[in-house]
């Protein structure tokens, strides 16, 4: 049996040294979170808000872990102050894994504005990002991780619809 995309994704993430997972769900990550919560291998801290998950991840980093935060792009709006006044000021790195709801303007109305401005928002926030590409994911993640460790700042992996589903 071949591993699911979500399991392959987590294997690569783990191989890059990430060891702590928290966040707020998006349906795009349903399978990933199910795997994270299904056993003792990873663990997953379900956070009440996206900025809280950024704080929880910051604590994990201070305690020697390499954190990943999963969230929907709507949650990026909630998390902005934490990213700019905690991570970027205190030099606390984190890998953000953010779904791209509203990418092609054909999503539910609440996702359309954030979907359209997402890339500009990352540039404005000075958060390096890559859009998940199945074929190049290993290289993408290695590059993002290298940037994150060199700069000690947040980086983001943007996940389009169906990229990590099944």
């Amino acid at each position: 049996m071949t591993a699911s995309r979500s399991q392959t994704f987590l294997d690569e993430v783990e191989e890059q040294g990430y060891s702590f997972f928290t966040g707020v769900p998006c349906s795009y990550f349903g399978d990933v979170i199910q795997i994270l919560e299904s056993g003792a291998r990873y663990g997953y801290v379900s956070a009440v808000r996206e900025d809280s998950s950024i704080g929880i991840a910051a604590g994990a980093f201070l305690a020697g872990r390499q954190p990943v935060v999963l969230m929907q792009n709507s949650g990026l709006g909630v998390a902005i102050n934490a990213l700019v006044s905690l991570n970027q000021i205190y030099d606390i790195p984190v890998l953000l894994v953010i779904s791209w709801r509203g990418q092609f303007g054909d999503d539910a109305p609440e996702h359309l504005v954030m979907g359209a401005i997402l890339e500009d928002l990352f540039r404005l926030l000075q958060i390096p990002f890559a859009v998940y590409d199945t074929l190049n994911f290993r290289r993408q993640l290695a590059e993002l991780t290298r940037t994150m460790r060199e700069t000690r700042k947040p980086v983001a992996l943007v996940v389009p619809r169906e990229a990590l589903e099944e």
Partner: protein, 187 residues
Amino acid sequence: MKRGEAIAQVAGWLDPSFISIACNGMISRELYHQAERPSNFYMIGSMGLASSIALGIALSRPSKTVVVFDGDGNLLMNLGMLANIAASKAGNLYHLVFDNGVYASTGGQRTISSCVPLESIARASGYRRAARVETVPALMDALPVLFSEPGPAMLLVTVDSGNEPSVGRVKLLPAQLTDRLCAELSK
């Protein structure tokens, strides 16, 4: 009691090996002024997240005792963390709230804490213990009780509003605070 006195009493009582995370605003400044040590982490921004950071540490290092120095304004801004902490059952997390009823660093505008019993919300959320004290003797009696059993547990300390002019800003740079706490937690 004055906030500075309450924070000095608490900090003096804590074991130096405990990790203290102080919320942004006057509480960080006061802890720095009263009891600066390498196991302290002072926040300058991201209001509301001291408890989140403490939870991340507590879950990652179960053998370390983690203490949050929080304020009423900070806690009210991120009240959902009470539920998050309670649900986590982090036994090594202790939540101190210094409640002066105002936003002290923005000019003393009132918060809504006089109408909201924060310790009751903590208890209802699932904290193992939560109590309120209003005098120094009661505070000194409550501290050993607070730490005698696993958390998550809260002690809310009612303090006077007003700031001491001698309490300045934290002089360490944020990145220095990160480095020294990482070092402290790698021991």
